[in-house]
């Protein structure tokens, strides 16, 4: 490729072409898979910012996903909010929680932080699964339709375009953050907190910012999922779900935004590939995680980039 700019234009053109072609000719199975990939991708972008850039490991990301999902399912019942308002409110709740939780646990290092985020995710899961009166317990709840002024996505194609759009916006926003002083500050925090602090980076604030952003992306993705699926269970906030997000980020490349699509594709397609052998899913997921961390610690996209760049 001649230059970065050319590469970007070609890439965007290809992406647009792909989107429109598949939108016109895609079948139900394709949309089903693609929409889920998009949703998981949106959630994972937040985790990329938190883990890949700011270097803070989170084993509780699904907690925010669950908050977004349950928010749009439950809030309309209690305060009669419109679907879009519910999305916003759920996001605000997620942000507030992320600030409260973040301020307390982001000071922890390494595995202590990991366990703390695990505990956070578990608490959210417990609240959703043990409470039957408000959250419907382990059997889950129905989600109202997504409508705005009586318009809403009805066909799979509508969802497809909506999800692609939101993913693109999220991607664009994250990419800009990464290339800004925030992204650079995060990277320095990832390398060495003490050095960053000494160099004038407000480590606490920036870590909190990353955590908040992960909550935003997670919550929005959860809300979209809730509307799309029409029915949610506490498993949206389960530990296994958090692990899946982490796997998505690790598979794709911790610092790669495109990698979220790759990782999400793996996670979403896997159960479909297994068909009747669905019991093998957990085992395979673990093996994949093991394989990635052992042999491809950088993830797929960075490894591919190296090979391609080297050939050129």
């Amino acid at each position: 490729m001649r230059s970065v700019k050319t590469r970007k234009i070609v890439f965007s053109a290809c992406a647009l072409l792909y989107i429109f072609t598949t939108a016109k000719y895609g079948n139900a199975l394709y949309f089903n898979i693609a929409n889920l990939i998009g949703i998981y991708g949106i959630a994972s972008i937040g985790l990329v910012l938190l883990t890949g850039y700011a270097g803070q490991i989170s084993l509780g990301h699904a907690g925010f996903f669950g908050i977004g999902a349950y928010g749009v399912a439950i809030l309309p019942q209690y305060i009669n909010s419109s679907p879009l308002l519910s999305v916003l409110l759920a996001m605000i709740i997620a942000i507030i929680l992320s600030i409260l939780v973040g301020r307390t646990i982001l000071g922890l290092q390494g595995h202590f932080l990991a366990m703390a985020t695990l505990a956070f995710g578990s608490i959210v899961h417990i609240v959703f699964s043990r409470n039957i009166s408000i959250f419907g317990g382990p059997d889950g709840v129905l989600v109202p339709e997504l409508l705005f002024l009586n318009f809403g996505p009805k066909e799979q194609v509508h969802w497809y375009l909506l999800i692609v759009l939101i993913f693109a916006i999220g991607y664009w926003f994250a990419k800009n953050l990464i290339n800004s002083r925030y992204g650079r500050a995060w990277l320095s925090i990832r390398e060495s907190e003490v050095t960053s602090q000494v160099s004038g980076v407000n480590v606490g604030q920036l870590k909190l910012l990353a955590f908040m952003l992960s909550a935003v992306y997670g919550s929005i993705a959860g809300s979209i999922y809730a509307f799309y699926a029409g029915f949610i269970t506490p498993e949206e906030a389960s530990l296994m779900h958090s692990f899946e997000f982490l796997i998505i980020v690790l598979v794709g490349g911790a610092r790669s935004l495109i990698g979220t699509v790759v990782g999400a594709a793996l996670i979403v397609v896997l159960p479909h590939l297994l068909n009747e052998a669905v019991d093998y899913e957990m085992l395979l997921t673990g093996l994949i995680l093991l394989f990635i961390v052992m042999f491809l610690p950088r993830g797929v996209i960075p490894t591919v980039r190296r090979k391609i760049l080297r050939i050129e």
Partner: protein
């Protein structure tokens, strides 16, 4: 109330065993083994299914503990030993992967149902108004004996002293001729065995199923934290603490959310004793 206390101590002893497992491994290798809880699950499931398919009780529990000890050794041999130089986060992710693999395997080998085991003795002891299943006393007793044996192991046997040496200063131990790799392998085996023992003890009391592992691991980790992730005695005390928190909050506050309350207490303790507070100065690479 007395009932809750005894139950709490019993459950807490199990958490203490798991916490011991965390501490033993972490002391010699800086690894936080997230699959510690699965060791409990595996031994419980295995013993339960062996017994129900006709094995004599003694053989079943012995076989289960041995099998899980082997699994622990496998974790070190296959995974940890090959990546010892990586950052601790990577090692932790590797143990996480191992945890998911173990859980997935358990799901395939067994099923999603709850399983149970017959207790060692099935009496209901009565002290005044309080009725205590005798298994609780067995649990506490066995754990205390195990802890005593562990202390003896550490203080009087060569291997135990070698482990203390590696925990204290790995390089110096190497220079003194200690086989660090073997010591670490033994640490994994001992940790796994302790957790396996916990599995055998707890299964008669609370049912066991394929997905109890992570919950146990978090509580065991919480117990280990009380000892600063370094003190075995601290882990046992921490286990009792969290066991008591769990049963008392189940009895007096809410049995639905008891696990949530335990987690909240865990988070609070994590914050009150962050890593930096245990050492007088913070040592690390910048």
């Amino acid at each position: 109330m007395m009932q809750l206390v005894v139950a709490g101590l019993a459950v807490g002893s199990i958490y203490g065993l798991i916490g011991l497992g965390f501490v033993i491994i972490h002391n010699v290798s800086n690894v936080v083994n997230l699959s510690q809880g699965e060791f409990v699950m595996l031994s419980g499931m295995m013993a339960a299914s062996l017994v129900s398919s006709g094995w004599p009780w003694y053989f079943a529990i012995l076989a289960s503990i041995l099998a899980v000890a082997l699994v622990g050794a496998a974790l070190d041999y296959l995974i940890i030993a090959r990546r010892r130089s990586e950052r601790i986060i990577i090692l932790m992710l590797l143990t996480l992967a191992f945890d998911v693999i173990l859980r997935g395997a358990a799901l395939l080998i067994w099923d999603k149902e709850d399983h149970t085991l017959t207790p060692i003795t099935n009496e209901l002891l009565r002290f005044g108004e309080v009725a205590i299943p005798s298994q609780y006393l067995w649990i506490c007793g066995v754990v205390l004996v195990a802890f005593g044996l562990l202390t003896y192991f550490y203080r009087k046997t060569r291997t135990g002293i070698a482990m203390l040496a590696v925990a204290s200063n790995r390089r110096a131990a190497l220079l003194c001729g200690v086989r660090v790799k073997s010591v670490i392998r033994i640490a994994f085996i001992v940790s796994a065995s302790l957790s396996a023992l916990g599995g055998i003890l707890i299964t008669p009391v609370t049912y066991i199923s394929y997905d109890v592992g992570i919950d146990l691991a978090v509580k065991g980790f919480a117990a280990a934290i009380v000892g600063g992730l370094a003190s075995p005695a601290g882990a046992v005390v921490g286990g009792w603490l969290f066991g008591l928190v769990e049963t008392i909050s189940a009895g007096y506050i809410s049995s639905q959310y008891k696990d949530g309350i335990v987690l909240l207490v865990f988070l609070s303790i994590l914050l009150l004793f962050p890593r930096g507070l245990f050492r007088r100065t913070w040592r690390g690479r910048v």
